[in-house]
């Protein structure tokens, strides 16, 4: 993975977050405390501002730095979770030190596992994991079957969207919405939405660079 790709992906993510201000804000207002958009904007903005510093680093070091920066910038529930995701991903990339889809899938999966560990949550608890876990599984499967990049990206975006939409019907059992019981039903989880947006942004970035 090239660091330059990470840098432009960071910008796409930031733009995607900014583009969905009102949606993210109202989702967290409905079943949380209304700050998820602000948190994500603060985090994404901080990463884009790191541009010069990151550009000088290897991809894995850049991802690790991104994780650390998110850790000290976002706060809330999403901060340590996303930080754990990027730092774990960086670790695998560094260990494997190659440029294969299999490695990327393994790194993504390691990131998702770190989120699970940190948040002590799994599938179906109405969190970002309802997007991340299915995407990680599919990513690994597609990588194992040598699917082409375009197919992979499109499939992952689709899965992310499905996972995000699926949170609507769930009761939350982790995070702030867990105190709502039945009242959480009918609302998409804000963290799931922002993860879907980020996956979308990165996949579209990949697709664009394939043209």
């Amino acid at each position: 993975m090239k660091t330059s790709f990470i840098l432009s992906a960071a910008e796409s993510i930031r733009d995607a977050i900014l583009d969905h201000e009102s949606e993210l804000e109202s989702l967290d207002r409905a079943i949380g405390d209304g700050d998820h958009y602000i948190n994500m904007k603060r985090g994404a903005g901080a990463i884009v501002e790191l541009h010069a510093e990151l550009a000088a680093l290897s991809a894995d070091a850049a991802l690790n730095k991104i994780g650390l920066k998110l850790l000290s910038t976002i706060g809330g529930a999403s901060g340590p979770l996303l930080a754990s995701f990027f730092m774990s991903m960086a670790k695998i990339l560094k260990e494997k030190n190659d440029d294969t889809i299999t490695t990327y899938a393994a790194a993504f999966t390691a990131g998702v596992e770190a989120v699970q560990q940190r948040g002590k949550a799994g599938l179906g608890e109405k969190t970002m994991l309802d997007v991340l876990i299915p995407v990680a599984q599919q990513f690994s499967a597609l990588a194992a079957s040598n699917a082409d990049i375009k197919t992979t990206c499109q499939a992952l975006m689709q899965t992310a969207e499905e996972g995000m939409l699926a949170t609507k019907a769930l009761i939350a059992t982790k995070g702030r919405a867990a105190s709502l019981g039945e009242r959480a039903i009918g609302h998409i989880d804000p963290g799931a939405k922002s993860c879907q947006l980020m996956i979308n942004a990165v996949c579209n970035q990949v697709l664009a660079s394939q043209l």
């Binding site: 079943i31 949380g32 405390d33 700050d35 706060g75 809330g76 059992t173 995070g175 105190s179």
Partner: protein
């Protein structure tokens, strides 16, 4: 949104600066990472550190000082602080007897403090406060939220720490106080997060939110507005359900305003709540009425009952000198 603020992004630092300047005899402020510590570093005691999202003032900065906290880490409004804040604060105040974190039970706070504890180069323990009985604790949730009862935990643990008690003893007292404390809140209006610029939730003129969270999270249910006595009755019942106090229990009754509710109403609530608890055989021997754990500009209030024993009483009564709680010196 009408607030006394300048740029939305500067609210926190300007307010913290004002706090530090108004109370420069008590506290010192560090910016980036943001934390506040006592003006005089305490020695030979467990360092008590709390923190959480801002917007609940005077929690936690207002409780820094003799007999309570050594440091507080304020996050952005309603957003947990980050581990670098806890690490820097701990570095500044630890005195070789370990660090005790007092953390309100929210996923974000728990995880950020947990990561800080993992990175900390010295011994630490954590008391998780979870007094909000609006959230019925069941196997499928992450448990109750920490709300106004946190003040009682901080006061008692802070008092014990001044005696030189060790880390595990301090943690044990904090856990005990927490387990004997239950709270529930009612909102009449929503709060408005400055950066959001609009109320967190919509609520009609004839509605109340029963069991609301201190970040404006929805509560048990949306109900019709009615007389104070019947509202208080429901909250008192929820607390009795949660604590199941034995007859002749002695208790501390805390009526906490969420920020926009006048004292006149808080004392009216106290009047009814004290009567109801007394009718239930509980002796209210300590009280606290005012804005102690707020939710920005929310109109509303919470009721907290803490079942006392001699140890808790002693540590509640002991001298304290902070910006928001002061007696005995």
């Amino acid at each position: 949104m009408k607030k006394f603020i300048n740029k939305v992004d500067d609210v926190l630092v300007e307010s913290l600066s004002g706090f530090a300047s108004a109370h420069h005899d008590l506290v010192k402020l560090n910016l980036d990472p943001n934390f506040l510590i006592r003006q005089q570093k305490a020695t030979n005691k467990v360092a008590i550190i709390s923190g959480g999202g801002s917007g609940h003032e005077p929690l936690h900065t207002g409780y820094i000082g003799y007999g309570m906290l050594d440091a507080a880490c304020p996050g952005h409004v309603f957003t947990s602080p980050t581990p670098d804040q806890m690490l820097a604060a701990a570095e500044a105040v630890h005195a070789d007897k370990g660090v005790l974190f007092i953390v309100k039970n929210y996923a974000g706070d728990v995880m950020n403090f947990e990561m800080a504890a993992e990175m900390l180069p010295f011994e630490s323990a954590t008391v998780l406060t979870s007094d909000d009985c609006a959230v019925i604790n069941s196997t499928y949730t992450t448990g109750r939220r920490g709300v106004a009862g946190t003040v009682i935990v901080e006061k008692c643990v802070g008092s014990l720490a001044e005696t030189g008690a060790d880390l595990q003893t301090c943690k044990a007292l904090g856990d005990k106080v927490n387990s004997r404390t239950a709270s529930m809140g009612v909102a009449l209006t929503s709060c408005t997060v400055p950066a959001a610029g609009r109320p967190t939730f919509d609520i009609n003129d004839n509605e109340l939110e029963m069991g609301v969270g201190i970040h404006g999270e929805p509560g048990r249910k949306r109900e019709t507005m009615r007389e104070a006595d019947t509202i208080v009755q429901d909250v008192v019942n929820a607390i009795l359900d949660a604590l199941k106090p034995t007859a002749n229990s002695e208790a501390l009754l805390l009526i906490n305003g969420f920020g926009a509710t006048p004292l006149m109403e808080l004392y009216l609530i106290y009047n009814t709540a004290a009567k109801l608890f007394t009718e239930h055989g509980i002796k209210i021997s300590r009280s606290l009425v005012g804005n102690y754990t707020t939710a920005l500009d929310m109109a509303g209030a919470s009721i907290t009952l803490c079942i006392l024993d001699d140890e808790i009483k002693q540590h509640w009564d002991s001298p304290v000198h902070t910006a928001a709680l002061r007696w005995g010196r």
